[in-house]
Amino acid sequence: MDDDMSKEFERFILKDGKDILRFCRLKAGESGDELYQDVMLKLMEKKEIIDFKNNAKSYALSVCIFIWKNKKRKYKNRMRIAPKFSFEDMKEQGFDIRETSDKYQPEKATINKLTQMEVRSKVSALPEKYSTPLYLYYSANMKLSEIAEVLRLPVGTIKSRMKKAKEILKAELEEIENDGRKTESNFKRRIITQNQ
């Protein structure tokens, strides 16, 4: 019986683990792997009562969102009592500390081309109510109805939040694209001038 459950759990990890880890990494940045492990351990503890054939992915993502919010809340609360400084703190305070050895870092930026990093940073800068549905849709491969279930919101609300999020992103990404084109054309003009 226990063996059967363990196998089901393993099958669940192999089938949905990547989507869940991807969501964790995008949601929690460099704490993403830890968040994923937390979620999986929680599921493992409750494997007797979870139906891994149905709906376990939605449940896992709900747990994931909950644990992440809880961690952030605890962190904020702790910071009020005993402020301390660390790399994570610096990032929270808005310092631009780049993850030079991060294995998830995208390709090097090229002029006039939107990089994946730029897109991700724009998405993560959105209010959570907009970014979370996007992550669930694109990173965790959830359908709108499943996202509604995970976030316990009506499908209509999810649709309107995704629409709003895309509108904001579209405007911001177009701005970056236009800046890129301007930079590129200035760059070309300079080369031409130098050649002359």
Binding site: R22, R25, R73, I81, I97, T100, Q116, V123, L169
Partner: protein, 394 residues
């Protein structure tokens, strides 16, 4: 940019490749968690045992459980059950909405009705009584937590922000102590420490975005997490007038400096429900900067160009201190919160005529403060305090 293109951009950026190896549960991680969890289980079991003991000897009051919360009586329902206990009936102002009132004392969202019922402010903290009524929820399993020696209180968690007179947003307190009334209502006291002295009329605006609690039947499974079903996200807004009431608030100037340090005891405030010790806590140099920088550089988390900014941010921190306060009889006051220059102690109905204050610096080899907590006011460790004062209150 077309919608299709945006869709493709988001798909590319938000679905990076994941390896098979990465999704496996890591053994070392699971073992570490298990170790932590064991401690939590013991804690939860101990708490459960205490809850049972209290119920067993009849301290639990069934009459109280049957009480229906009425506006203006929230403090009465929980004032003996909270850390800052006392009789609030004479000091707290009842918040009653009238038809021409523009203030908001009650809000409902996601089936949770929250009502701000009474408020008192001594100029240093705001004491706010709130009822949290959760429709269709049975709150009889809300966990109790320790608020001092042999004292326990029911607890709720909140998430949100507040502003005072349109100032900067501050985090709303995370923990609320209180009592369960009936099966579906939590009567709680929120204490907002202002970390500064205020006076006159104030406009307190609160925006809560979540409320929740620990269910004692789930503690063993969840450890330090809250079950998602016990955490409700919503939107509750309040606009509350707060009038500072300084009657029965005594402010005693001390102005005493510690020898060989910039640490200074400025004043002691004794109000009906708390003692506030205000100090100038100096910043001290961080002696481990090189180590910290080396570590983050080694981890690849800091670029050369950001190094200076990083060093600037960590070069000093507030001096670490611990403040112990005793009454004229040598009874200790419990340190509830020390934040920057302010330390807060609940009065808990003690009759205060004189206060004896001992401030200890941090010494990793000799924890004199801990020794004094253990041995009491006559401990020889008292001589190791870096700053002491005797304050006549009456």
């Amino acid at each position: 940019m077309t919608d299709e293109k945006l869709n493709q951009i988001l798909k590319d950026a938000l679905s990076p490749k994941i390896s098979e190896e990465d999704i496996m549960i890591k053994r070392h991680y699971a073992l570490n968690k298990k170790k932590k969890h064991k401690g939590l289980k013991i804690g939860a079991a101990a708490a459960a045992a205490v809850v049972l003991t209290i119920s067993g000897i009849g301290v639990f009051n069934p009459a109280l459980a049957a009480q229906i919360p009425i506006i203006g009586y929230t403090f009465q329902n929980m004032q003996d059950e909270v850390l800052y206990s006392g009789d609030y009936s004479e000091k707290a102002v009842i918040l009653e909405e009238s038809s021409d009132d523009t203030k908001t004392y009650s809000a409902e969202s996601e089936g949770v009705e929250i009502t701000a019922s009474e408020v008192y402010c001594d100029g240093y903290s705001i004491f706010l009584a709130m009822d949290i009524k959760m429709n269709d929820r049975d709150l009889t399993n809300v966990t109790q937590h320790y608020i001092g020696e042999d004292e326990m209180s029911y607890g709720f968690y909140t998430q949100g922000v507040y502003t005072l007179n349109g100032g900067d947003e501050q985090y709303f307190p995370f923990n609320i102590d209180g009592n369960i009334i009936g099966n579906d209502t939590f009567a709680g006291m929120v204490k907002i420490d202002l970390n500064d002295k205020i006076s006159g009329a104030q406009d307190l605006k609160i925006n809560l975005t979540a409320v929740g609690f620990d269910d004692k039947t789930k503690l063993d499974q969840l450890g330090d997490s809250i079950d998602p079903t016990d955490w409700t996200e919503g939107n509750w807004n309040f606009d509350i007038p707060v009038a500072v009431d300084t009657s029965d608030v005594k402010v005693i100037r001390i102005d005493k400096k510690a020898e060989g340090s910039d640490l200074k005891l400025n004043e002691v405030v004794v109000s009906p429900y708390q003692v506030v010790v205000n100090m100038d806590v100096p910043m001290v140099e961080n002696e481990n900067i090189d180590e910290a920088v080396e570590q983050v550089m080694k981890d690849g988390n800091l670029t050369e160009e950001d190094k200076e900014e990083f060093i600037e941010a960590i070069k000093e921190y507030p001096m670490m201190i611990n403040t112990l306060v005793y009454t004229q009889d040598g009874a200790p006051l419990q340190l509830a919160n020390q934040y920057l220059d302010y330390a807060y102690f609940p009065v808990q109905n003690k009759d205060i005529e004189q206060l004896k204050i001992f401030v200890f610096g941090y010494d990793e080899d000799a924890e004199y403060d801990m020794q004094m907590i253990k041995e009491g006011i006559n401990s020889p460790a008292a001589e190791k305090a870096i700053l002491t004062a005797e304050v006549d209150v009456k």
